[in-house]
Amino acid sequence: MNKQEYTISLFTEDHIGIMSQITIILTRRQINIESITASESAVKGIQILTLVVRTSDEMVQKVVRQMQKLVDVLKVFVHTSDEIIYQQLALYKVKTKGLMSGNLIDQIVREHNARILEVSPEYMVIEKTGHKDQINDLLHVLQPCGVLQFVRSGRVAITRQVKELNAYLEEMDEVNKNRPEMIDTIN
């Protein structure tokens, strides 16, 4: 089975426990979560969770259907990395001494499209936004200078599809217009 990287974007109600409900679907099948991010979406009261997992196409389809089934999940999208625009943010805390020789620091920051957030006699903090490999490249460059701390955020992603969440919400409301009599037939 061919494994590859998938970005799962979930739009959910802002309820406590939803993250847990989603992650147990993955842990049950021993799928490791490479990164996870939660934030408010463009629609008030709706959260967006972005998960990155490495698994097979068959498996990702199965877990996505199980996520979609959760009562508090509005809509789930799954994308391969080439189908989305995504970024991660990283912070590096580096020994000041190591970077002070000549123009080294300016050069590194410029070349890597990073920026300096804070400088002190002991350390400086550099910020970089980009893809995982770009972030790692900068880490490699900084390592000889003495990296004291390094942290990378989860992936945030935006889809290229034209239909936005609002359209899905309207669609759901539309489906539900004729609800009362349909429910009678079920009960």
Partner: protein, 580 residues
């Protein structure tokens, strides 16, 4: 432990809005939802609710079981036979965790049950307080939905959602955890049933093109086979299935939980599917050129080895839960919708046909199975009593007009094979979970859910002893269940596997049993032991004609195996009629 002051005055009217306690509100909500029976067990945290319950006598009947697991199974069985959601109460901590097996059982078998657990006072949550467990976390993987209520004001809306979620779409258990302070604090009460949740859409728009495609596939098939499951019963589509089968002439095979969705004695009935199912439907699954799966989920006990499953067939899957489609078996056409709805649209599009040659293949297999397995199992002339003959006799005496409850294991497989079902929802059994100990409490729930209907429980001596304490519930509420212990002194199914796959090394499967007759008598239940074939029929008739509860301890052939069998890892077409 600190006890809260009991509020004697429950109702207050201020400015025309009625103010009541959370406990009172909970019970009113339940009455609004048509609940008249609750199974449960009290304890510290849920005392405010039980206190109010006393004033609901005549409106709500509370059945006090002897263990919370019993309450959960009884509530599930109640739901299965009555068609109404079951309701179950338990207190915090151990009360709540004792429900888990029952909740998981209801989840795997898609039965709507509303579980209400109490929680410690909200400011104690997270402090490892006395009888505190994180029941939301514990139950999360086995509920359709759960929620905690910390403010009495939130009780009505949460209960309304709980019933809506439990009963719509693919049904399932839900759990509401209510803190003790939310039970005694007051709220302004009003109730509105829920019929819409933005993020939850149980009613799926009908995909008519898919149904048209299905009809073309059906009309062109030469060896079609219907596999029907619990979904047919849950969507009340038995009549539609019947009509569909009669019109198309396609044989119908049923899963364990699908049993009673189609009459067992119908000419198109192909048999029961699965590891110990009938010979014909298992074997011929791999001969079929079209499989129409309706409300079933291709469980591993049904499919056997997936790599060798139905390779000659195109598969149409009619299923309300999208997550079940392409989960185990990749299908050619998916119709993600309610079985009844789909069949209603499909029936006018299919041609009237008959498949005499194809059906004959089933009958040839049936004949073979009858000679090799069914006849010696159900009509033996010598030797010890067989499980099959007990089930056949009960089937003949009741003529299908009874609710049949089973435990799990050989007793269950034998009932599934030899009882002739004719009334929908007349089998109550634990399918997906295979929970030993389910039978006895489930028979109580069945008896209470369908008063006046005969309830017969087939239990093994092992499973019976797992929840035997529920005899006390039978005594207290005079539930007239007929309990048949198919007693072989072994954990029969495990022993069968040890016999077949572990060189007859009977590790911890032999039981030293107590005198079940004395135990039954202790609970005021009429009881009799049967060890001779000559006494069997009369004893069964006597039991079935009695008014009250009755227990028969039937001594069964100790080392008999259930056949046919699809061995683990084997294909459905490798089903064997003989062993060794």
């Amino acid at each position: 432990m600190k006890t809260e002051k009991v509020t004697t005055k429950v109702k207050e009217k201020t400015n025309g809005i009625e103010t009541i306690t959370g406990a009172e509100a909970l019970l009113r909500c339940l009455v609004e939802e048509g609940v008249d029976t609750i199974f449960g067990y009290p304890g510290g945290a849920i005392m405010p609710v039980y206190d109010r319950l006393l004033d609901y006598e005549g409106r709500i009947k509370h059945i006090l079981t002897r263990h919370e697991q019993g309450a959960a199974h009884a509530a599930q069985a109640y739901a299965m036979v009555s068609g109404k959601p079951g309701v179950c109460f338990a207190t915090s901590g151990p009360g709540a965790t004792n429900l888990i097996t029952g909740i998981a059982n209801a989840y795997l078998d898609s039965v709507p049950v509303v579980f209400i657990t109490a929680q410690v006072v909200s400011n104690l949550i997270g402090t490892d307080a006395f009888q505190e467990t994180d029941i939301l976390g514990v139950s999360m993987p086995v509920v359709k939905w759960n929620a905690q209520v910390k403010k009495s004001q939130d009780i009505p809306d949460t209960i309304a959602r709980a019933f809506y979620i439990a009963t719509t779409g693919r049904p399932g258990p839900v759990l509401i955890d209510i803190t003790k302070d939310a039970q005694y604090e007051k709220l302004s009460y009003s109730y509105k049933k829920c019929n819409y949740i933005r993020s939850y859409n149980p009613v799926i728009p009908l995909h008519t093109r898919a149904i048209e495609s299905a009809s073309i596939m059906i009309n062109h098939a030469e060896k079609p086979l219907i596999l029907a499951g619990h979904g047919v019963l849950l969507s009340r589509a038995e009549n539609e299935l019947f009509e569909f089968a009669e019109k198309t002439g396609i044989p119908v095979a049923l899963t364990l939980l699908g049993l009673s969705a189609f009459p067992s004695n119908h000419r198109l009935y192909a048999g029961y599917l699965g590891m110990h199912g009938n010979y014909a439907p298992n074997l011929l699954t791999n001969e079929a050129d079209l499989i129409i799966a309706i409300g079933m989920r291709f469980d591993d006990r049904v499919t056997g080895n997936l790599k060798k499953y139905a390779k000659n067939a195109r598969i149409i899957h009619i299923e309300i839960d999208e997550a079940e489609i392409n989960k185990n078996v990749m299908v050619d056409l998916e119709i993600n919708n309610d079985a009844k709805e789909v069949l209603n649209h499909l029936i006018p599009l299919v041609q009237k046909k008959s498949y005499e040659k194809w059906i004959r293949e089933f009958r040839i297999c049936d004949k073979l199975e009858y000679e090799k397995v069914v006849k010696p199992e159900t009509r033996p002339e010598k030797g010890q009593i067989k499980m099959g003959e007990v089930v056949r006799l009960v089937s003949e005496i009741t003529n299908g007009d009874a609710i049949i409850v089973t435990d799990v294991g050989q007793n269950q497989m034998t009932v599934a094979r030899y009882y002739s079902f004719s009334i929908p929802n007349s089998l109550v059994t634990s399918g997906g979970m295979g929970t030993m100990g389910f039978g006895l409490p489930a028979s109580i729930g069945s008896g209470i859910g369908k008063p006046g209907k005969k309830v017969v429980a087939f239990l093994g001596d092992g499973g019976f002893q797992m929840t035997m304490q529920e005899l006390g519930t039978i005594l207290q509420y005079k539930v007239p269940v007929k309990i048949i212990i198919l007693n072989n002194g072994f954990l029969g199914m495990v022993r069968q596997w040890q016999d077949m796959f572990y060189s007859k090394r009977y590790a911890s499967t032999e039981l030293v049993n107590p005198d079940f007759i004395t135990i039954a008598k202790g609970y005021g239940i009429a009881a009799k032991i049967v060890s001779e074939r000559a006494d069997l029929k009369d004893s069964l008739v006597e039991m079935l004609e009695s008014d009250g509860p009755y227990l028969l301890d039937i001594k069964i052939d100790r080392e008999a195996n259930v056949l046919p069998m699809i061995e683990p890892g084997a294909s459905v077409s490798e089903v064997t009629l003989t062993y060794k």
